[in-house]
Symmetry: none
Subunit: 533 residues, 2 copies
């Protein structure tokens, strides 16, 4: 049994409430999907918005090892010639080898929503496919509302698929557009379709009744050979079928080699990477790839796991690039600290008071909102600061930020009226620098003022810039009063490092992450440069 | 076909990472589950922690209309007499009519994890059940690791269930403890069990392979008559089977009257209520009960829905107490705007210049970082502001924020040294209010100052509070310079609304969302009150 993976994160996935990918995001995601071994990447709907057209232009220079890029669009409109239809023209212009055309396969949808005749709908499908075939484009028909249509009027739904086959389609994709179908209904319908057609059949499921994964697997077992879905199940309403669950089910539970073992190990990383680009916190409770998927609260389960790793885990988490987490484990904590300190050249004995104190301090800082998992530079500073003889390269005396908005004559907002000023006083080697700078926001102004002061002592610091800045509100229920965590990514063009700050005050949280970033660079990169001189 | 609903939110559900219910929470949840029509409520494991024992004591005074309260615990330990076993004693003391006993039904788990003989395990189950029966307690056997055990050694797993039946158990519950089983395996095993037993069979599924709901339904179709799960699928690792999906599937897709139609209408409210008590934001993408479950973003879908409500919805959202939402976004067309305006009582013609202008303005605002799909109140204001004769209830003249940090003697951060002050000048009906307030952060200070000014004119505004505050950095690559989007959720204790602000300056972005929140409340709720007077 062979299964082809068809990803629509970039098209249907971006329909999820709150997701809006830039063209650059979409290109990065396509690359990542190719690395994972996805066979078809649906890049978007050219013409539906300028971003998607731009994506297909730029995607031509991607070097995909494995995946085929697919453009998505609708069949020609009613009563319009195929060669005069704008959507079809834009699909051809996208330059992809494959195109997926959405067409209605429910009689009721045709008459009531599309408001045309059943015959015209068949003609729209036939002529659109034939036209694209004449341009040497391979076509999948995305049979919208197939399962709902099949329940009402199975003959017409099958007729639509047969029209696609006759017109030269590569395959048909059966869509549970409204996501309300149950697995047994899927099984029965797919079997009937397989008997009526000779081309490949795909499944496109939505999760409105929490069955998208089950329905996809049911369709594959009934004879479908292409499965459509998205990373993390992103998609409109309750989402699309989640490829991050479907792929490991195929590989590990059904022995279907849709991707290689090494590609499967990229699954967790791919899931988190795409969540990041979507600007979403990775969902911890996701099967296989979530940070809680293999986490165990202390007690019976943890002691069971120590006797037999399979006792409370259905797979080895490493197979999908994830790992086990024991939630209460002081031992695990200590060895992490020892390992990490070693990496920066500080040797600590696991049983030492130093390690115990550090663990205490990490716990204390975490209770204040800090988190070192994604901020190793801040953790390294924490370790350094406990070392006798550590001298910080600068010391903050105080800072001030002023943000002012003058006049706002009407409902329209004019950003030019905003003013942000940062004032910083730092001590370096006994000298005090008092600097002020403007920015387009308070953090930007603080950054500029601190940089202005420090660069007088450390001119090399001008190479350092902030490459990412993230804000997380930690206590979601307490409004503007909430605890704030800021994560900063910095770069000197060669190295990248991450720092963290937390406070109920977003300015202070940002300041802590900012000053950690500079301090970290000064004690690591800078000193190395000095020695070279 | 009759199905009994067994809820374990209070026991297995509370194993979810981050959940910790108080006794008062648990009592409220039990009441809510009873209202919903749940048949069995598993309240906890008395003796495993003092909270659960206290819960059962207090639960005796709950007036449950329908549900039976169940205490959960393990069979007697190996080599201990049933009447000398502490857990069994505590179960009896809990005073419930029903007890669920967990016992191992996997041979390998018995020998490798429990580290006892297969015979002793059977004796533990038999004697524990007999002992509880002698106290007139009805017993369910929770057959731990049943499906994994059944794969390895089906004879022994069945033997365990038969021992329970013989000892007088009311029923057995087949557990997919590790959550890795697929529906077809469930179907086959349940059928075999049904042939071997005469007592009722239940299913307890976990979601580790995203099949918990599918597995539960498969088991019911194969002959099980009790389904265990939790509200919102809360539970260890990836969670338990989600009753908020299972119940509507049974009622609406399979015509099984497990609860009444009116009780089904409480489903969404119950889901949100229990999330609140768990101190979690309600998951918007949950099937049936999520706020996105019936939301529509694509213009095509919205125009389809206006022709036929079933065209892009698998059920009527009102059946489960949810409602449809039309999202306004860059992908959305005119019909979304027309529909949304209609909802606030403004009739716009789809082809009018007004709608075209609004669409242009939405696109422009979105390019500036605003996003209206999660901020309907801000969108409504956008529409209102285009109406001739609209008068805003207040007008901002200017604002200023000062954040200052004094002295920072060492690496340790002392938050007491931080100061944040907000100064606001607003005009209401020709009067100018100039107010200042402190806060623990700049946004909090601005909020306080604005509130102080406006409350002099609109004292009712003091009922409004911010219930959630979210920050998104939009251009991840440009560091502290990036565009910031702020989303605010506000509440007056009765209604909830969402507003948005965007700017490169986080203070301004927050300000815009804040002032929209107050303006929205003033023009909707407040004005309605005025008319009443």
């Amino acid at each position: 049994m062979q299964v082809k993976l068809y990803d629509t994160t970039l098209r249907d996935g971006s329909q999820r409430e709150g997701i809006s990918f830039t063209v650059a995001d979409k290109l990065k995601i396509a690359q990542k999907l190719d690395d994972l071994g996805i066979h078809y990447i649906e890049g978007g709907w050219p013409g539906s918005n300028p971003k998607d057209s731009e994506f297909f232009t730029q995607a031509k220079s991607l070097k995909l090892k494995n995946a085929k890029m697919v453009a998505f669009g609708s069949t020609r409109r009613p009563k319009v010639k195929a060669d005069a239809d704008t959507t079809l023209k834009q699909l051809i212009d996208s330059g992809t080898e494959y195109v997926t055309l959405v067409g209605k396969s429910s009689a009721r949808q045709v008459t009531q929503v599309l408001e045309t005749t059943l015959e015209e709908n068949l003609a729209m499908i036939t002529e659109s496919i034939e036209y694209l075939r004449s341009k040497c484009i391979k076509v999948f028909l995305d049979a919208e509302h197939f399962f709902d249509g099949y329940k009402d009027n199975p003959e017409y739904s099958i007729q639509v698929l047969q029209a696609a086959e006759k017109a030269g389609a590569e395959g048909v994709v059966l869509c549970d557009t409204n996501g309300g179908t149950l697995p047994e209904e899927i099984t029965q319908a797919v079997k009937t379709v397989k008997e009526a057609l000779n081309i490949c059949v795909g499944i496109h499921a939505h999760n409105d009744t929490e069955m998208a994964v089950a329905n996809s697997i049911a369709a594959l077992k009934a004879g479908a050979s292409q499965v459509q879905g998205t990373i993390n199940g992103f998609g409109e309403r309750c989402g699309n079928a989640n490829l991050c669950s479907i792929i490991p089910i195929l590989k590990l539970k059904m022995d279907i080699d849709c991707i290689s073992d090494n590609q499967l190990k990229l699954l967790t990383e791919t899931s988190h990477y795409i969540s990041e680009l979507a600007n979403l916190v990775s969902e911890p409770f996701l099967p296989y790839v979530g940070s809680s998927a293999f986490s165990h609260k202390a007690g019976l389960h943890v002691s069971g796991l120590s006797k037999w790793s399979g006792s409370y885990q259905h797979i080895e988490p490493e197979l999908v690039g994830n790992h086990q987490r024991l939630l209460v484990s002081e031992l695990a904590g200590r060895s992490n600290i020892v390992q990490r300190a070693k990496a920066i050249g500080i040797n600590l004995a696991p049983d030492s008071k130093e390690v115990k104190d550090l663990l205490q301090q990490v716990k204390k800082m975490e209770s204040l909102g800090f988190q070192y998992e994604n901020a190793e530079a801040s953790f390294d500073l924490l370790v350094n600061r406990t070392q006798t003889g550590y001298i910080a390269p600068f010391e903050l005396i105080d800072f001030m930020v002023v943000v002012e908005k003058q006049r706002r004559p009407s409902a329209m907002r004019n950003q030019d009226e905003m003013m942000a000023e940062g004032i910083v006083k730092v001590r370096v080697d006994g000298d005090i620098m008092h600097t002020v700078a403007e920015g387009n926001g308070p953090i930007n102004a603080l950054d500029a003022a601190l940089r202005k002061g420090l660069c007088q002592f450390y001119p090399e610091l001008s190479a350092v810039h902030l490459s990412d800045y993230k804000v997380r509100i930690l206590e979601q229920t307490s409004g503007t009063d909430a605890l704030v965590r800021v994560l900063i990514e910095s770069s000197d063009g060669e190295n990248t490092w991450h720092t963290v700050g937390a406070s109920p005050n977003i300015i202070e949280a940002s300041w802590l992450a900012l000053s950690d970033s500079f301090e970290y660079w000064l004690i690591t990169k800078k000193c190395k440069n000095c020695k070279k001189q």
